[in-house]
Subunit: 207 residues, 2 copies
Amino acid sequence: MFDNEDDSKQLSRRERERKRHREEILEAASEVFGQYGFEKTSMQMIAEKAELSVGKIYTHFKGKEAIYRELIEYIVTLVHQRCEDAVKPGMSPLETIRVKMRTAMCTFRDHTPFIRLYHEDFDIRKGRFGDVECKKPMMDISSLLKEAIESGEFSGEIDPEFHALMMEGAGHILMESISRSGTDSFDKITELLDKVFLKPFENKKQQ
Amino acid sequence: MFDNEDDSKQLSRRERERKRHREEILEAASEVFGQYGFEKTSMQMIAEKAELSVGKIYTHFKGKEAIYRELIEYIVTLVHQRCEDAVKPGMSPLETIRVKMRTAMCTFRDHTPFIRLYHEDFDIRKGRFGDVECKKPMMDISSLLKEAIESGEFSGEIDPEFHALMMEGAGHILMESISRSGTDSFDKITELLDKVFLKPFENKKQQ
DNA sequence: TCATATTATGAATGATTATTCATAATATGA
DNA sequence: TCATATTATGAATAATCATTCATAATATGA
């Protein structure tokens, strides 16, 4: 899951094993953090879930916070990347938003522990770890909305900044609430967001 | 602020002072919890903000969690009460929703530290303190939406349960994001929520 | 196989902080 | 005013972890 190197062949058995351990720690940590949140998760819990010792974790990571940061970085980059890949040339801004929305939902569906993590990160950014750098926008819906408005594809009635913000808020609460209801409920989320946030503001194809 | 007794006249000077201390602790706690969140707030911080000793707090409250719970209870009850009071007989379900929404926003505007608190409580309900009882619905938008749909006032296109959930999510993220921009921004929130969640689904007055 | 190097372990350390409680300060009222 | 009762204080206690590190276990390769 966290294997994103492509030169595995070059590595010795020991090196490969070490790499695998690192990935197992991240995997375990994502589950425990995802279930209990940052504060209530102890290194002991991560070690137990990964079936290795606490000390071992420290040969791979500087500490608890470093693991957490790496997980956030991982999910943000993954969603960002998948969204970029899903967009094909010639798509209108509004089509792009729909595709990105669907892609992001699918990614979270396959990484449910990250839902809480990502949500929690929102809090953490404002104070728990002090001020931290602004992360790269996962989908940047707000710029796309702006484009859609400029092209006349979308109603300019609502400030796109706030429109995007509301989508994020609504999307999160939906994910948190129904992610446990199975795979297909993620399709429902996409559908709901579309019905509320896009369709009503979409202008009939002009000309 | 937390003074909700009406028999103050019966109390001796000492009793009144004690009551005032209790309220000052709650006031201080709401500010500190609101700024730093539950985990990062220490009893020391609350004591300093309230300008009294740590030990004193324990003559009023069982502990940190008890204070926190009382604050949540306070804001939930307050919003609930004000929303009930704002509704006048004869209002349609949709009008009721609008009034409650505006009332809730005004209440949070006057109690900004509680925004974070209430938001955080959402997390806490699922695990930080273990499973806890379900709290009384502040506004119960979902039932009102159901009524509005039944009366033909509102489109039944979207499941009212999810519709209400999305409103809550969007409302929170807006409050968290723009509450620092001053008093009038709360009006903006109400307006935004109305434009996205109500207007587009409102049926033209039939007959 | 054995000496040496590498790695893994989890108990010890140190820091934090909720809670308690012995002591100090204050109030009461005779 | 003084003896006694009440209240306030913040240092001591206890519990919880993140992190480190001395020791044990394992791997290496001669």
